[in-house]
């Protein structure tokens, strides 16, 4: 268990920056960007690439829980709204347009067979799509632009700056376009009736042309400002507010162990799935099995695989619950200061 707080150390700055706004941060977002990124990399890849029903179910449940938890902290609820219709579509499409599989349940109005396998595969796709959409929504809320820039700034320093500049310019351009429209209106040259689409289009074109000049002109001053502060000198470094601490290292070790175990079990086909022509789950390990004892232990190994996957997927939720618990105790005065 990582210590709650280390004595004699300033609280890490990144806690507050993690969500852009101190009141909105979640426990998991307080971890190092690398931890955040690897986590999302894992859950999205496994959900999208490994259609094992148990894995998908675990992943989907965790995604749902994490989204609901983040939505409480003013994450856009877009993902939660988008997922159900997409999932329904996945099932319907698969059933209607895939007729593979041998277990025929009946016939569709089109005369094609409705198979159990296509139904199962549709359900798995639904879980997969729902899981990926929800995880991506969580990713958006946790991986703020600073974190992304920090991670990739190390790989390509120029890219980090370009992205940061782009994030600054886009809102500026939007605001300037609005100001130009307002200014032209002020001297009587704005669009008179919004109902006239042609006039609106022409006015829009005019604003766009002004914007181009404005952007280029102002970019000169920006580039002067960059050169004045030594941009272009060799050996540029990238600074960030993040520090990889023991807490983060602990989680990275957990990831590494869990992922290694999973890879071994998946590639030895101890956990496996195939939908067509017949739905077969966990058909067996390497055949022939090295020993009888090894084969007998397969159910145990499968349980280990599910547990590892669940441990990773539910990590943000677990951290959140743990943090809530700490704060509740702290508030009721049960936590003695410095308790480790």
């Amino acid at each position: 268990m990582p210590p709650l707080q280390r004595a004699g150390q300033a609280p890490p700055l990144r806690w507050a920056v993690s969500m852009g706004n101190a009141t909105q941060y979640s426990a998991f977002a307080g971890y190092h960007p690398l931890v955040n990124y690897l986590f999302f990399g894992y859950v999205v890849l496994v959900t999208a690439l490994f259609p094992h029903p148990v894995f998908l179910a675990i992943s989907f449940a965790a995604a749902l829980g994490t989204s609901a938890c983040l939505a409480r902290r003013s994450m856009p609820k877009f993902g939660l709204l988008l997922a159900p219709p997409l999932m329904a579509l996945a099932v319907v499409f698969n059933v209607c347009f895939t007729h593979r599989g041998v277990t025929i349940l009946g016939y569709l109005p089109s005369g094609n067979p409705l198979t159990l396998e296509s139904l199962l595969y549709g359900a798995a796709s639904a879980l997969m799509i729902g899981g990926v959409v929800l995880w991506c929504a969580c990713y958006g809320a946790v991986m703020t632009s600073d974190k992304f820039l920090y991670l990739f700034g190390r790989v390509v320093p120029a890219m980090s700056l370009i992205l940061s500049m782009a994030l600054r310019f886009l809102p500026r351009y939007r605001a300037q376009a609005a100001r130009i429209a307002s200014a032209r209106r002020g001297i009587g040259m704005g669009v008179s009736s919004p109902a006239n689409p042609l006039a609106k289009l022409r006015a829009g074109g005019e604003i766009l042309s002004v914007m181009v000049t404005w952007a280029l002109e102002n970019a000169i001053e920006t580039s002067d400002s960059m050169r004045a502060r030594g941009y272009g000198l060799p050996g540029r470094t990238a600074y960030a507010n993040y520090r990889l601490d023991d807490r983060d290292r602990g989680l990275l070790v957990v990831f590494a162990v869990a992922i290694t175990i999973l890879l071994v079990l998946v590639f030895s086909r101890i956990v496996s799935v195939s939908y067509y022509p017949v739905f077969v789950m966990n058909a067996g390990g390497a055949s022939p099995a090295p020993t009888v004892v090894w084969a007998a232990a397969y159910p145990v190994w499968r349980a280990v695989a599910y547990a590892c996957h669940a441990a990773v997927c539910f990590l943000p939720l677990g951290l959140e619950v743990r943090e809530d618990w700490i704060w509740r105790r702290a508030r009721t005065g049960m936590l003695v200061d410095g308790a480790d």
Partner: protein, 592 residues
Amino acid sequence: MALIEVRGLTFRYPEREQPALDGVSLSVERGAFVVLCGKSGCGKSTLLRHLRTALTPHGERSGEVRFDGRPLDGVGLREQAARIGFVQQSPDNQIVTDKVWHELAFGLESLGEPAPAIRRRVAEMASFFGIQEWYEKSVAELSGGQKQILALASVMAMQPDVLVLDEPTAQLDPIAAEDFIGTLAKIHDEIGTTVVLSEHRLEAALPRAGQAVVMSRGRVVCAGAPSGVGRRLHALGDPMLAAMPTPARVFFAAAEKKLDSATAAAGGLAQNDNGSIPLTVREGREWLGARAAECRPYNSQDPIGHETSVGAAFCRPQKTSAPPVVSLKDVWFRYDRAGRDVVRDLSLTLAAGEFLCVVGGNGTGKSTMLRILTGENRVWRGKVRVFVADPQKAGARGLAEAGLSALPQDPQTLFTRPTVFDNLIDVAAYHNKKAAPEEIEAEVRRVCALTEIEDLLAFHPYDVSGGEQQRIGLAMALLARPKILLLDEPTKGMDSFFKEKFSRILRRLTADGASVLMVSHDVEFCARHADRCALFFNGSVVSEGAPREFFSGNSFYTTAASRMSRGLIDGAVTAEDILDNLFAVATPSDTF
């Protein structure tokens, strides 16, 4: 040895006849605070840009710039970046990244500092400038003044020996500008950084300066301690004297009056020749206090004799009988349902031929009020009438045809064509659809002469200075033949010379029956030229009146002359008022 040494620097931009710099020599000592002033377009920026190789403009050049005993060209770019900090005019354009902390680190990243060193310097700077509060914010959330302080802090994070600032306050409101200059003084006092600052707002900067340099047409007119420079300008009769702080202007004008008057003692001014002149309000009060016996309280019934400048504007008759052309009654406005009211319970009228100034702090809703009048903002309670019509019903076209014209704060938003002339023709043609091309051109020429932009017609509007852009914007607004002219901070970036001219343009408009509603921070301008002033606070007008009663009633939000003469000459709000009442009581005192 001087830190910066400029010797006989002459520079000419490509394809220009006149040299931008003509034999400029200047020396800046280590730890000095130098203020560079002059009309807009006098070569201040060009000179400052020569202090950094990376920013030096292209063109023909002769002469030499030396930094720390070496020719500047021989000082490496890395050393220049670290040792010579450069701050520019626009708060928006010189900020590069999206987050405050990243901006602070930007220069140090360029210099290749390791992360722990950057962390420490950034923390130091954030603490020194008091910006911990917004350290994690997006730059977009900051005000203009905060952005400019951030630009300064991010340069200071590199710990330069000298700070070069090119009109850093030109786009700030007066309060943010004072803050900025105050921060600069703090850097100079507490860190000992050498400061070279170009400014046209001398009221704040000059008292802090150890050395003032006045430029005109690419030449240095005079340089030295501010008092000495003031005396020299006075002796030369240089127009830059008008840009001096109010106490200094009163001092010189009083000296002249004393000399001209029959009771003047020989050499009244010469006696004090080596003494300092009052630059701040406090020094002005001391100086005036010493002459309290010769002052009399201001009497508004007095006829004001002098017609020298625009001070005469005060004895204008009140225009009360005409019906208002604009009226706002119990108006409330907010941007969205859940937001707070930006304009609340506002009632205001504008009479025909009236020049009304609305003053007040940032974010009090002044500009929002203007957008209510142009119909852009729809009020949710109250009645708005512009020429007896509701702006919402009249629509933008209808309002423009009736004669409403609004000049935005940033004139760059008006420029859609590649030359100044095309822009003007465009507006003129739009508002005179039936006129022949010759008539339109004549109209444009007339307005250009009025706004003194004839020389700029062939240029791209972005290639002229900020003050000149403001004039072009004004010309465009005038070409719409306004009966009501709405102005949003029009004097921002204007030098004191054009301000006088600007006031005459407005005066001519109102004499022809047009009304002007101006929203401004420029208290001095409003006091001198308005018919009526109103103080905007928290979404509505809290007090209004003729400039004299308005400003003499305020204690803090008032002109330098009023603060300087409070209790000594009550009711005086301009330098001219003080002069009129100084020496008005004959005394035997001869010493000046």
